[in-house]
C-alpha cells in the first residue's frame, strides 16, 4: 500500500510541480536526462512505506554524496542513443543488413539522411556504453542492488566483448554497422533497456546527492513502524538557505505538538519544514534536518492553506470542517499518520473556534500512533488541554520587541505564548494616520 497523502498536502508543502518555482521537486531536479527527470517525478509521486527500502535508497544517495562522482555522460549522447534504441529493427540479420545496404545506396544516390542518422545513433550508443564501462569500476561498493548488479554482470560477461573492437571516433563500415546494429537492437535489446534505466537512476542519484552536498542536507534513518518516533536535532525549511534550525521530538507519549506564536513568528514555516522533512524522509531523500530518525508512517496530511470553495457552496469554515473530517476518517481507520493543522478553525468566531479546537484536538490526541502538530491563536485552548491530556507538548515561537519593532528569533521554545503584535504592525504601517488625514 502506498504512502497516503493528497493534493491539498502537496500544495501546502509545495512539493510537486515541475514548473512551479521553489517547489521541492524543482529544488532537487538537477537531472541531465529526460528519463532521469521522469524517474525523479515518479519518486516524488510515490514515497515508500517500507523501512528497509527507504534506508536502502538513502544509503545509495549517501554513497554518491560521499563519492562525489559526476555524471559521466553527455546529455545529448544519451538522447541520441535513446532515439536510436527506441526504433524497431528487423529480427532477421540478413533482412536488416539488406535494408542498411539500401539506405547506404540511397544516401549516396539521393543524399538521403536515414543512413547517416542510423550511423550517428549507433555511434552515440557505443559512446554511451564505453563511458559506462569506464564508469562502473568507480562505483565499487555501491549499496545499490538489483539493476546495478544486472548491469555489472552484463559488462563482465561475453556479451559486451565486441565493444573492445570498436575504435573511438572511427566511422563504421557497412558490415560493422549491420553487425552492431543487430547486436544492440535485437540480441541485446533487454540489456540495453536495463542499461538505459540504470543510467536514469544514476542521473537521479548524482543530481540529488549534488543538491544535498551543496545545501548541507543529510540522510534520515527509517525505523520500523511500531516504535512511533520522529526525532531530529535541527530541522529547517529546505528552500530557505539561512533558515533557523529547531530540534523536534515526537513520540508515543508526546505525540501532539501544540504550537503558538504571534503572526509572522514563523509557525507556518516550521510546520511546512516538518511536513517536507516527513515527505522527503519517506522517499529516502536527503532532508533539511540533522540526525533525523523516524518510524515509517502510513501517510501525511496537512491543512495549511485551506481555501473556501464557493463554487461548491462551501464557506471557509465548512471547507475546514470537511478537511478535518477527511483526516479523522483516515486516523480512525487505524493509520499511523503525521497530521499538521495550521490555525485550525480560523474561519469562525472565537467561541466556536475554541470549542471546536478543544474537542477535536482531544479526540485526535488519543491516537497515540499518529503525530499531530496543531497551531492556533486561541491560547486558552492550550490551558484547557494541559488539564485534560498528558501527551501534548506545548511549544511557541517567540517575538522580541525592540522598541516598537518586533524581531523574530524563530527558535522553538517550550510553553504557550500570548504574544500578539497585530496592532503594532498596523501602527508601523501608519494606516490610521493615513485615513484620518
Amino acid at each position: 500500500m502506498g504512502f497516503k497523502t493528497d493534493k491539498q498536502t502537496l500544495d501546502d508543502l509545495n512539493i510537486t510541480g515541475r514548473f512551479k518555482a521553489q517547489s521541492v521537486f524543482s529544488l532537487f531536479n538537477d537531472t541531465q536526462t529526460g528519463g532521469g527527470e521522469k524517474l525523479l517525478e515518479g519518486m516524488f509521486q510515490q514515497p515508500l512505506t517500507d523501512a528497509a527500502a527507504i534506508n536502502n535508497r538513502s544509503d545509495v544517495f549517501n554513497y554518491f554524496h560521499n563519492k562525489q562522482l559526476s555524471f559521466p555522460f553527455n546529455p545529448s549522447t544519451i538522447q541520441a542513443a535513446e532515439t536510436y534504441l527506441g526504433e524497431e529493427t528487423g529480427s532477421s540479420y540478413l533482412l536488416a543488413a539488406g535494408a542498411h545496404l539500401r539506405r547506404k545506396f540511397l544516401q549516396m544516390a539521393m543524399k538521403d539522411e536515414q543512413y547517416g542518422q542510423l550511423q550517428s545513433g549507433l555511434l552515440a550508443t557505443i559512446d554511451m556504453l564505453k563511458a559506462l564501462q569506464q564508469f562502473l569500476p568507480l562505483m565499487e561498493g555501491c549499496p545499490a542492488t538489483g539493476l546495478f548488479e544486472t548491469v555489472a554482470v552484463t559488462f563482465k560477461g561475453d556479451k559486451m566483448k565486441w565493444l573492445q573492437e570498436v575504435g573511438v571516433d572511427q566511422p563504421l563500415t557497412l558490415l560493422q554497422l549491420a553487425r552492431y546494429d543487430h547486436l544492440v537492437r535485437h540480441v541485446l535489446r533487454n540489456e540495453m533497456e536495463g542499461i538505459l534505466r540504470f543510467i536514469y537512476h544514476l542521473d537521479v542519484y548524482i543530481a540529488v546527492s549534488n543538491v544535498a552536498r551543496e545545501r548541507n542536507f543529510l540522510y534520515a534513518r527509517a525505523l520500523p513502524k511500531d516504535q512511533h518516533i520522529f526525532q531530529t536535532t535541527a530541522l529547517h525549511h529546505p528552500a530557505l538557505k539561512n533558515g533557523v534550525a529547531n530540534p523536534l521530538h515526537l513520540h508515543e507519549d508526546r505525540n501532539v505538538l501544540f504550537l503558538t506564536g504571534a503572526n509572522m513568528a514563523g509557525k507556518s514555516t516550521l510546520m511546512k519544514s516538518l511536513g517536507i522533512a516527513v515527505y522527503l524522509a519517506h522517499m529516502g531523500f536527503p532532508v533539511a534536518a540533522r540526525d533525523l530518525v523516524f518510524s515509517v508512517r502510513d501517510g501525511l496530511y496537512t491543512s495549511i492553506n485551506v481555501s473556501d470553495n464557493l463554487n461548491l457552496g462551501y464557506s471557509h469554515f465548512y471547507a475546514e470542517v470537511l478537511r478535518v473530517k477527511k483526516v479523522a476518517e483516515q486516523v480512525a481507520e487505524g493509520n499511523d499518520l503525521v497530521v499538521i493543522f495550521d490555525e485550525l478553525f480560523k474561519g469562525t468566531n472565537v467561541k466556536d473556534a475554541y470549542d471546536a479546537t478543544l474537542a477535536v484536538t482531544k479526540e485526535f490526541a488519543a491516537y497515540r500512533n499518529s503525530f499531530f502538530v496543531i497551531s492556533t491563536h486561541i491560547i486558552e485552548v492550550g490551558a484547557a488541554l494541559q488539564q485534560e491530556c498528558d501527551n501534548l507538548q506545548f511549544s511557541y515561537l517567540p517575538t522580541i520587541m525592540e522598541g516598537s519593532v518586533p524581531r523574530y528569533p524563530y527558535t522553538l521554545t517550550a510553553g504557550i505564548t500570548n504574544d500578539r503584535h497585530g496592532m503594532i504592525i498596523i501602527e508601523n504601517e501608519r494606516i490610521l494616520e493615513m485615513i484620518q488625514e
Partner: protein, 451 residues
C-alpha cells in the same frame, strides 16, 4: 477622474472568471460580433465615474430593452470585413488598368485568393453599410440613441460613399476596385469608426436582451455629494439560483455597514451581490435588483478572498494589513469609494483582530463620502463601535435552528447576532464520533496483538 478598481476586486467578484468559466462578463456577453465582445470587455475594464455618462449609457440600453430591438447582423457578416480590413498592404490594391481580357479570363476560371478576399470584403462591407443605413432609419424614433445615430449617418452620408449606397445588384470589377481604394485606404478611419459604432450597438442590444430575459433593472445615477448614497431594493447575486433579495439604504449618516452572522448564513454572498450591483451600476449596466439609485463613487475595492503570499514571505495577517493600507492610500486622495472587507483580520488572533477591527472601522467611519461594508466574526467589536460611532448600520444574516439542522433565511435584519453553529456543523459531520469509534476498533486490534 476615472473609476478605479483592482485585480483583487475583479477576482473576488468573479467579473472575468478563470479560464472563461462562469463569470459576470459571460452573463452579459451575448454579443453577435467578436468586435462587440471586445468592446464589452473594455466596458467592464473601465467603469464610469461620471453620472451623466452613466445615465446616458443606461438610457440607451434601457430604450432598446423597452423596444425589444434585435441586432440584424450575423457574426459571419463581419468575418469577411475584418480579414479584408486587416490587409493594409498598399500593393494589394486592385488596379483598373490591369483589367485586360486575359485577366478577366483568369478571374473567371480561378481568382487568386487575395483578390477573392478583397472582392468578398468590399461586397460584404457595402452590404453592411446599406443595412446600417436602413437600421438607422428604423431607430430614428429612439431619442436616447439619437446622438450616435446621427454620427453614424454622418459617416454613411459622406459624399465618398454615395456611389456605394446607390449601387444596385452585383458590383462590377471596376466598381470594386474603386470602392476598395476608398474603403480600405482613403477613408479607412471613417470605416473603422463606423464599425466601432456597430460593435457598440451590438453590445447595447445584447445587454438589453439580457436585462429583459433576467428582469434586471436599470439603476439611476445621481451626482456625488448628496446625503443619499445608495438606495437598493431587492438586490441578489446574479449567479446564485433562487437567490434571496435584500434591501439596503445607505446615507451619509449610516455609511458603514457592519455585517455579522454565522458561517454559511450568506455573508459573503450578500457582500458580493452588493459589490457586483455597484460595479455594474457604474458601467451603466442593468443590475440584479428591483430598484437602485446611487450617488456616483470613484472606485470599488473588495477584499473577500485574500490569498496569503507566503512565496513573498508575507503572512495572511500582513497581507490584510497591506490591503487596508492600500485602501487608506486611496481614501487619502479624497475619493468616494465603495470598500468591502469580508472577515476583517481573520488571519490573526482574536484579541488583535478585536482591537484592529475597532481601530480601523472607527477610522473608516470618519469618511462620510464613502460606503464601507465590513463583516466580522468578532461580535464584541460591534458593541464597542456602537458606542463610539454614530454612522454605523448594524445588520446581520440570521440562522434559525430547526432541531439540529441550521436553516438560513438569507434576509438581512437590523442588529448584531451572536449566532454560532460551528459546533453544530462539526457534530452534523460526525467528526467526533468517527474519532471515538475508530479508537475503539483500534483498541481491539492492539488487544489482539497482546494475545
Amino acid at each position: 477622474m476615472s473609476f478605479t478598481t483592482d485585480k483583487q476586486t475583479l477576482e473576488d467578484l468573479n467579473i472575468f472568471g478563470k479560464h472563461g468559466g462562469d463569470s459576470i462578463y459571460n452573463i452579459f456577453n451575448r454579443c453577435v460580433t467578436r468586435g462587440g465582445a471586445a468592446v464589452l470587455a473594455e466596458l467592464f475594464r473601465y467603469p464610469l465615474a461620471d453620472f451623466e455618462a452613466i445615465n446616458k449609457r443606461s438610457g440607451i440600453i434601457q430604450s432598446f430593452a423597452l423596444a425589444g430591438t434585435s441586432f440584424p447582423f450575423k457574426g459571419a457578416d463581419f468575418d469577411a470585413v475584418e480579414s479584408y480590413l486587416a490587409n493594409t498592404d498598399e500593393r494589394s490594391k486592385l488596379t483598373v488598368q490591369e483589367n485586360t481580357v486575359a485577366r478577366k479570363l483568369t478571374n473567371m476560371i480561378a481568382m487568386d485568393i487575395e483578390t477573392q478576399q478583397i472582392y468578398k470584403g468590399v461586397e460584404a462591407l457595402v452590404a453592411l453599410m446599406k443595412k446600417t443605413q436602413e437600421l438607422m432609419e428604423e431607430l430614428n424614433e429612439n431619442k436616447f440613441y439619437k446622438q450616435e445615430n446621427e454620427e453614424i449617418r454622418t459617416i454613411l452620408n459622406n459624399p465618398a460613399f454615395t456611389e456605394m449606397n446607390q449601387s444596385r445588384g452585383k458590383l462590377s470589377p471596376t466598381q470594386i476596385a474603386d470602392f476598395d481604394v476608398m474603403l480600405r485606404f482613403r477613408y479607412r478611419t471613417l470605416v473603422e469608426k463606423l464599425l466601432q459604432h456597430i460593435f457598440h450597438l451590438d453590445v447595447y442590444l445584447a445587454i438589453a436582451k439580457v436585462a429583459n430575459e433576467r428582469k434586471f433593472v436599470f439603476p439611476k445615477a445621481l451626482p456625488a455629494g448628496q446625503p443619499d448614497l445608495l438606495k437598493l431594493e431587492g438586490v441578489y447575486h446574479p449567479q446564485v439560483k433562487n437567490a434571496v433579495p435584500n434591501n439596503i439604504h445607505v446615507t451619509t449618516d449610516n455609511n458603514v455597514i457592519f455585517l455579522t452572522g454565522a458561517n454559511m448564513a450568506g455573508k459573503s454572498t450578500f457582500m458580493k451581490s452588493l459589490s457586483i450591483a455597484m460595479f455594474l451600476a457604474h458601467m451603466g449596466f442593468p443590475v440584479a435588483a428591483q430598484q437602485m439609485e446611487f450617488a456616483v463613487l470613484d472606485g470599488v475595492y473588495t477584499t473577500i478572498n485574500l490569498p496569503d503570499n507566503l512565496g513573498m514571505g508575507a503572512s495572511h495577517f500582513y497581507a490584510e494589513v497591506l490591503r487596508v493600507k492600500k485602501m487608506a492610500e486611496e481614501l487619502q486622495l479624497k475619493k468616494g469609494l465603495f470598500i468591502v472587507f469580508d472577515e476583517l483580520f481573520r488571519g490573526t488572533n482574536v484579541k488583535d483582530a478585536y482591537e484592529a477591527t475597532i481601530a480601523i472601522t472607527s477610522a473608516f467611519a470618519k469618511k462620510r463620502k464613502s460606503i464601507f461594508l465590513i463583516s466580522t466574526h468578532i461580535i464584541e467589536a460591534g458593541d464597542v463601535l456602537k458606542e463610539k460611532c454614530s454612522n454605523i448600520n448594524f445588520v446581520y444574516l440570521p440562522t434559525r435552528m430547526n432541531g439540529h439542522q441550521p436553516v438560513y433565511t438569507y434576509t438581512l435584519e437590523q442588529g448584531i447576532t451572536g449566532d454560532r453553529h460551528g459546533m453544530v456543523i462539526i457534530n452534523n459531520e460526525k467528526i467526533l464520533e468517527i474519532l471515538q469509534n475508530g479508537k475503539k476498533q483500534l483498541r481491539k486490534t492492539t488487544a489482539n496483538y497482546g494475545i
